[in-house]
Amino acid sequence: MSEKPTVEKYLMNIQEGMFKAYKCVDCGMVIAPPSGTCYGCGSSNMEWTKVSGNGKLVSFTVIHIAPDEFAEEAPYYVAIVELEEGTRVSSRLLGFDPLKPEEVNLGISVRLDYEDGKSGKKYLAFKPA
C-alpha cells in the first residue's frame, strides 16, 4: 500500500465496494474523507489503510426533499458515523424505516456497507451491527 492516495481513487474505491481511508505515514492518524494534510501532525505524507468497518452512529437525518439526482430515492437516511479508527464519515444509513426515524438511537454500533443508488452510483453506507 505504498501508492500515494488521491481523492479520485478514494471515490473510485467506494464505487468498487472497497472503501479505504487515508493514513498519515508520520503519526498514524486515520483520515476519511481525504485531507491533504494530517489533522494530527500536519504532515502531508499519506498512505492507504483498510478499516475494520466498525463504527458508531453520531447523528442522522432523513432527506424527504432531495435534489433531482436523488429524488427517486427519497426519503432516505444520511448519517454521520464515527469509525473505530477515530475518523468520521458521512454515509447512507440502512436497515431502518425512513418513516420511523424516532426508532433510531444515536450511539448504536454500525457496520460498513454500500448502497446501490437508483442514480446508478454506489454510496458509502452503514447498517446496524
Binding site: V7, L11, P33, P34, S35, Y39, V58, S59, F60, T61, V62, I63, H64, I65, A66, P67, D68, E69, F70, E73, P75, Y76, V78, A79, I80, V81, R88, V89, S90, S91, R92, P101, L106, G117, K121, Y123, L124
Partner: protein, 390 residues
Amino acid sequence: MPLKKTNIVSAAQTKFGALEGVTLREMFSEAVDKATIHAGIPKKDIQAAFIGSFIPEMLVHQGHTAPLLLDFAGLKGLPATRHEAACASGATALRAAVMAIESGIYDTVLVAGVEKMTSVSTSGATEALAAAADDQFESSIGLTFPGVFGIAAVAHMQKYGTTEEDMARVAVKAHKNASTNPLAQFQKEITLEKAMTPRYIAWPLKLFDCSPISDGAAALVLTSNEKAKQYTDLPVKITGTGQASASMNLCDRTDLTSFSASVEASKSAYSMAGLEAKDMDFAVVHDCFTIAEIIASEDIGFFEPGEGAKAVRDGVTAIDGDKPINPMGGLKAVGHPVGATGVKQAVVAYRELIGDAGPNQVPKHDTGVVHNFGGTGATCVVTVMRRGDA
C-alpha cells in the same frame, strides 16, 4: 482595541420575496439608490464598492457581477469586487469594507449584497445552494442543506433535550416579528400548530423550520469619522469584526451541536470591541433554519450551550424579552436571498440601533451583534455595532 473609524451612515434593503420581473441589476440599483441619493448621500462621494453575491453564475448565468452591477447603479468606474462565502457573502463584503476604511485607503464606500433566486426552478435553486457544501464527499451521497441542519438538530435534541416544538417556536416568533415588517417575504403570523405541520423536508426539520428561496438586495454606506457628520447626526459605529472558518464537511466536526466558526468569530469580534456577550442589547443571527437560530444564540454567548431552546420557550428572545433575537423576522420570515442576507442583517441592526425600527423596535438599543454564516457553517462573520452617541 476597538475599531476606531468605521461608521454606518445609511442602510436600506429592497423588499424580499419572489420579485417577479425584477432582475439582479435592478434590485441592486434599487437598494443602492435607497442607501445613497434617497438618504442624502451623493453617489459621487462613493469611492469603492464591496459586493456580496453567492452564485449568480448558476442562478442567472452571470459572472463578473461587480462591474455589471455598478454600471446599472450609476457607479461606473469605481474599484469594485464581489465577495463570495456562500450565505456569508454579504458579511465578508462588509468586513472587507470595514478594513478598507480602518486602513485609511477610503473615506466612503458602498457595501451591497444581492441574489436573484427565483429565476430558476426550486430544484435549480436547490442545486445551486448545494454548491456551498462539499460536492465530492457530502452532496454526492444526497446530503442537502436542510439535511445538514437536520443532523445538527438531531444531535442537539439528543444532547440537550431540545424538541421539535422548541424549533417551531422560533418560526412562530420569526413570523410574528415579520408581520409588522413591510419588507418581509412573509407578513403573516402563524400558530404553533401550523409551524408543527408534519411536512418534513429533512427530518426533524419541517417546512416551517426552513427559510425560503428569495430575491432581494441590501446596501450600506460606510464612512470615516471625519466624514460621518456630513451625512447624519446619528451614525452607527462598527467596533468589532471577527471571522473564522471551519471544515466544509460536517463529518470532520467534533461537535455537531455548535458551530465552531460562530464561536471563534464571536470571540474575535467581542474582544476587538472590548465587550462581552452580556453587553449586547440584541442580536441579529443567521436563522436559515430554526435550529440554526437556537444554536447561534448559544454560539454567540447569549445563552449557555443547551439553553437556547429554553430561552425561546421563555420569551427571552422576543422583541420585548431580555435578549431579543431577529426582531424584524430573520431569514426565516423575511427571506434569504443568499448574497444579500449578510448586508440585510447589518441594515436591521442599524435601524434598531438608531431607533428606526417602528413596531419592531427593541427597547434597549445601544449595542448589537450580527452573526452571518455560510454553507454548513464553514465561514462565519460576526460584527459588533454601537450607536454613535451611546
